[in-house]
């Protein structure tokens, strides 16, 4: 039942939200019906709660984090739920008339219902994390509602401010809840409430309390977080009437009540909560008086009343809690009606500025009467509900003299009285300044009574004000008792709800407040002037906005500082951290037990000299680009020799061929690139880069050395022993490539193919022109295709293809294989492009290289898939020795087919890349 209850508003929201014109029923009607049905359901199922029952529903949701789908209906929840749904129904009704046709879209009601559901969920949650879910949802929904009039900057700012403050508080509260849950070991409210002093005695209690109060304070607009609330008045008035009187701002108060048994009872609680309440009470009351905006006045008054309730909770006395809860009800009722009245005035007169609004009584007497009653309740006039709870409040402040140190005991009653004086004064202003005080000034509209049904919600609420004020025991006592019992978690003390308690100090304080308020209001002109003369008005809003603004600015600053959008910086960071991390890891590690070192030989010394000199020369001469490429070629050649020397013929050949292809590649690019790199670096940067380079070099050298002296026992012995019997080849490297680790090779061919596709994609649409002259200003030589080159290249082609075939076929047993053969073919064909030019070469090599690559990959993959047919894993190879007449015995290996795929893909890629780049210049001439 509780699930149904909570879900009704959400279902309503979902129903209403997407409805534009399609929904026959007006959204307001749906929303109202939803709220009403929820209220009826609540009253129905909530009945046992009055007699002390607690309804619980539990369902697992995320057991790993302790989030369960559990609801709880106890007295406190019932009270709040009734307020939420009751006032909710009235607000929907009110909004139906308040909002213009244009505004009253389904969106509004959807947001309102969303908010209603969130609030309902919040007050009914049994699971603390679930409660946090709803808590944050209320912030989000209120963001949407406050920002509903999105075209005005006030609405946008107000919404964002509210979200910032309440969202921030939400995160603090979340932390508090998490810590509490961890301390208790459960997030179920029942467990937490049953944990006694566990939290309060924990060493994290102060932290929990502070975080908790930040959450409470932000939501319930307590000083110093109160400032968002007045700006939230940019919301449509029904929203204010709902959120800022009865519901959202009471969420924090609700929490104070909820966690009272767990967190209250300490000195810290007393000082912090009552201190916060007291300051809010006074500040709100004071500032309310000076607002010219009708809703502003109500907003600050709300702040003040919330402070009052907080103060009561802070006092920690049982009667104080009862008074607090009582005032929650009363404030909700009269403030909602006042907001609605203010909305009517705004709606009918076009302004909320009290300096313009005067003498409305004669234009709208009915409304005025209602507003005056509600305002009187706010002021604490007897026979109205506000009087009762205020009396209890005054009474409780007096009790304190036994609690606090003697010399300060007067502070609380004193402050309460002062606040009372101001409350009377601003209530008076609300009545006098708007409904009397002469004639209206420059009103945009001529005011008149609103539609009949718009007043009904106000009337209902005003009747409640009076009903509670006159017959408290009859109307409100059961609810109050059950709620208070839920808060206190212990038997309630005796308390009396009656208008007359005799002539006692609270009554005196009330009378002083009335009289003082009247005097204060009569001296308002002097007061306003004095208030305006206060040199600096601390605006919480400005402060918060500048805080947000400076956060944004700080963000930009840090972002600009760190993220320079400079590749050089990125590279420097990357390389520096690699070097640093490498150094940290190597530091202090001993070299492994050295194996016998290899004696130095002359060829290695000479080759090494050339290699090292070539590397350094490349770096030194990098500005002269052609020179640098030549130097790099030495390094490449020497690397190939090194591979050969250290027993890697396949590698030596691959390196040689790739080197040649790379030189062609880079020369192709260099034609378009500037031939010289301008000297670009400052000395400092140069020194820095050299230093990093040297450190990196040293680091890698040390790592290499420790690797080289490391005796190694590797898995390679398996490859050596299995190559022939298992893989059918004697060239172990090739067998690894096409068999043991054929999967790698397939991936590598794929990389090549993708690179080629990417290159083709980048070349397409590239508009680039080569220079007319070389970098020394000479025009290019004539004769594009020297005859000697052309002829020799053509001559070489068949020979190269034969060599390629030779290397391919023997690759399984001797140095060679698909890669190397593919590179040979690729280079031989590229040579034709160089010798005879793109056009002619393309005529003679007319196939689509991209397709060739695809075919290669498909053949390699297909060979691998072939093994599926025989029930083997992908890439399982087989081989057989076949004996034919004449030919004799030879080997057929499926790995050869795989290697053929590799071959084709490599040929295709090399041609795509080199010939594709070679085609760039062609385009220029065609343009």
């Amino acid at each position: 039942m509780l699930y149904l209850l909570v879900s009704i508003p959400f279902i309503g929201a979902l129903l209403v939200y997407p409805a534009t014109e399609r929904l026959r029923l007006p959204p307001s009607l749906v929303a109202g019906l939803m709220a009403l049905s929820a209220l009826v359901l609540l009253l129905f199922i909530g009945f046992p709660v009055y007699s002390g029952a607690v309804l619980l529903s539990r369902a697992e949701w995320i057991p790993q984090i302790g989030l369960s789908f559990s609801f709880r209906l106890d007295g406190l929840g019932l009270l709040f739920a009734e307020l939420i749904l009751g006032i909710g129904v009235l607000v929907v009704l009110y909004a139906r008339y308040y909002l213009t046709e244009l505004e009253a879209g389904p969106r509004f009601y959807a947001f309102l219902l969303l908010f209603m559901g969130a609030m309902l969920g919040l007050v009914l949650s049994e699971n603390l994390l679930l409660m946090m879910v709803f808590w944050e949802l209320t912030s989000l929904a209120s963001f949407l509602l406050i920002g509903f009039r999105r075209h005005t900057s006030e609405a946008r700012q107000g919404a964002r401010l509210a979200l910032f403050v309440t969202g921030g508080g939400g995160f603090a509260l979340l932390a508090a809840v998490l810590i509490m849950g961890q301390i208790v070991g459960s997030y179920e409210l029942s467990d937490v409430l049953a944990s006694g002093r566990l939290v309060a005695d924990h060493h994290l209690y102060p932290l929990v309390l502070v975080l908790f109060l930040i959450g409470v304070g932000t939501k319930s607009a307590q000083f110093p977080f109160h400032f968002w609330l007045p700006h939230a008045m940019a919301a449509p008035t029904p929203v204010s009437a709902y959120l800022h009187s009865a519901t959202m701002v009471k969420a924090g108060i609700f929490l104070l009540g909820r966690f009272f048994p767990v967190l209250a009872g300490s000195e810290l609680w007393f000082y912090m909560v009552s201190g916060m309440g007291l300051s809010t009470l006074l500040l709100g009351a004071y500032l309310a008086l000076f607002q010219h905006d009708l809703k502003g006045l109500l907003a600050y008054s709300t702040i003040s009343h919330l402070g009052l309730i907080t103060l009561l909770f802070g006092l920690g006395t049982p009667l104080g809690e009862i008074a607090a809860i009582f005032h929650v009800i009363n404030h909700a009722v009269f403030k909602a009606s006042l907001f609605m009245a203010a909305g009517i005035i705004d709606h009918e007169s076009g302004t909320r500025d009290m300096r313009k609004l005067n003498g409305l009584f004669k234009y709208m007497p009915h409304t005025a009467a209602l507003a005056m009653v509600a305002a009187a309740a706010m002021a604490g006039v007897p026979l109205l509900n506000g009087f009762l709870s205020k009396e209890m409040f005054f009474g409780e402040t007096l009790v304190l003299k036994w609690l606090v140190e003697a010399q300060w005991h007067w502070l609380f009653p004193m402050a309460a009285t002062v606040a009372g004086i101001f409350a009377v004064a601003y209530s008076l202003r609300f009545i006098h300044d708007v409904f009397f005080n002469g004639e209206p000034v420059n009103l945009p509209k001529t005011p008149h009574e609103p539609p009949r049904w718009m007043k009904v919600p106000v009337e209902v609420l005003v009747v409640l004000c009076i009903g509670v004020g006159v017959f408290p025991n009859f109307t409100v006592r059961p609810l109050l008792e059950s709620a208070a019992a839920a808060v206190l978690q212990q038997p309630l003390p005796e308390f009396s709800l009656s208008i007359w308690h005799g002539f006692n100090t609270p009554l005196v304080m009330s009378l002083v407040a009335m009289g003082g308020g009247a005097i204060l209001y009569s001296g308002r002109k002097w007061l306003f002037r004095a208030h305006d003369r206060i040199p600096f008005q601390i605006s919480g809003k400005q402060w918060a906005e500048s805080l947000v603004e400076s956060i944004f600015q700080l963000g930009e600053m840090v972002d600009r500082l760190l993220d320079s959008r400079s590749l050089r910086r990125y590279s420097f960071f990357l390389l520096a951290i690699v070097v640093a991390a490498g150094a940290v890891s190597l530091w202090g590690e001993s070299f492994p037990a050295a194996k016998a070192l290899t004696p130095v030989t002359i060829p290695v010394v000479i080759g090494g000299l050339l290699l090292g000199a070539g590397s350094i020369a490349t770096a030194v001469w990098h500005g002269k680009r052609l020179l640098a490429v030549i130097m790099l070629s030495i390094v490449g050649l020497m690397t190939a020799l090194l591979f050969a020397y250290f027993s890697a013929p396949d590698l030596a050949m691959t390196q040689l061929l790739v080197e040649i292809a790379s030189v062609i590649l880079v020369l192709l690019a260099m034609y378009f690139l500037p031939q010289l790199t301008p000297p670009e670096s400052s000395r400092i940067r140069l020194a820095r880069d050299i230093t990093l380079g040297v450190i990196a070099g040293i680091g890698v050298a040390i790592l290499s050395y420790s690797m080289l002296v490391q005796p190694l026992d590797s898995i390679s012995s398996y490859y050596l022993s299995q190559s022939k019997p298992g893989g059918g080849g004697t060239n172990v490297v090739n067998v690894i490539l096409v068999d043991f680790r054929g999967f790698d090779t397939l991936g590598e061919v794929t990389v090549l193919g993708i690179a080629a596709v990417g290159i083709v994609a980048m070349i397409g649409g590239l508009k680039i022109w080569g220079p007319e002259k070389d970098w020394l200003g000479r025009s290019w030589a004539g004769d594009r295709h020297p005859v000697l080159l052309t002829t020799v290249s053509k001559l070489i082609l068949p020979f190269a293809l034969i060599v390629s075939a030779y290397l391919f076929l023997r690759g399984h047993n001797y140095p060679g294989g698909g890669f190397i053969a593919g590179l040979v073919t690729g280079v031989a064909l590229t040579l034709q492009y160089i010798a005879s030019g793109s056009d002619r070469a393309r005529q003679r090599l007319p196939w689509d290289n991209l397709k060739l690559v695809g075919a290669g990959i498909l053949i390699a993959t297909g060979t691998g898939l072939g093994s599926w047919v025989f029930g083997f894993p992908f890439l399982t190879t087989t081989f057989a020795y076949v004996t034919l007449p004449i030919v004799g015995k030879f080997e057929i290996a499926s790995a050869m087919l795989f290697d053929l795929g590799v071959y084709l893909a490599v040929v295709g890629t090399v041609l795509l890349i080199l010939a594709g780049m070679g085609g760039l210049h062609q385009r220029e001439e065609n343009v």
Partner: protein, 89 residues
């Protein structure tokens, strides 16, 4: 005898490589450097073959064959770059 001679031959080739490198680093013109690189390629082929004789295995011959076949391609590309800028026209 053979191994001594091979060692001598290797030293001779090594010196040849160093001389090539001298021209390579010295220049003066880009053509000189490219020529030196070309020579370096050919001498490398010689070195590889000699190495094969030294260890008594023909496994490295293919590498020398590739240098003989394609060693001129880099040279040719570099020269064509000097002449025409665009090496594939």
């Amino acid at each position: 005898m053979l191994s001594v001679v091979i060692s001598i031959a290797m030293v001779l080739l090594g010196i040849a490589l160093l001389l090539n490198a001298w021209r390579l680093f010295r220049g003066p013109d880009a053509t000189d450097r490219i020529l030196a690189l070309d020579t370096l390629y050919i001498n490398s082929a010689a070195l590889i073959i000699l190495y094969g004789v030294d260890i008594g295995r023909a496994d490295f011959f293919a590498a020398a064959l590739l240098i003989a076949l394609f060693g001129f391609v880099s040279t040719m590309a570099l020269a064509k770059f000097l002449l025409r800028g665009d090496i594939i026209e």
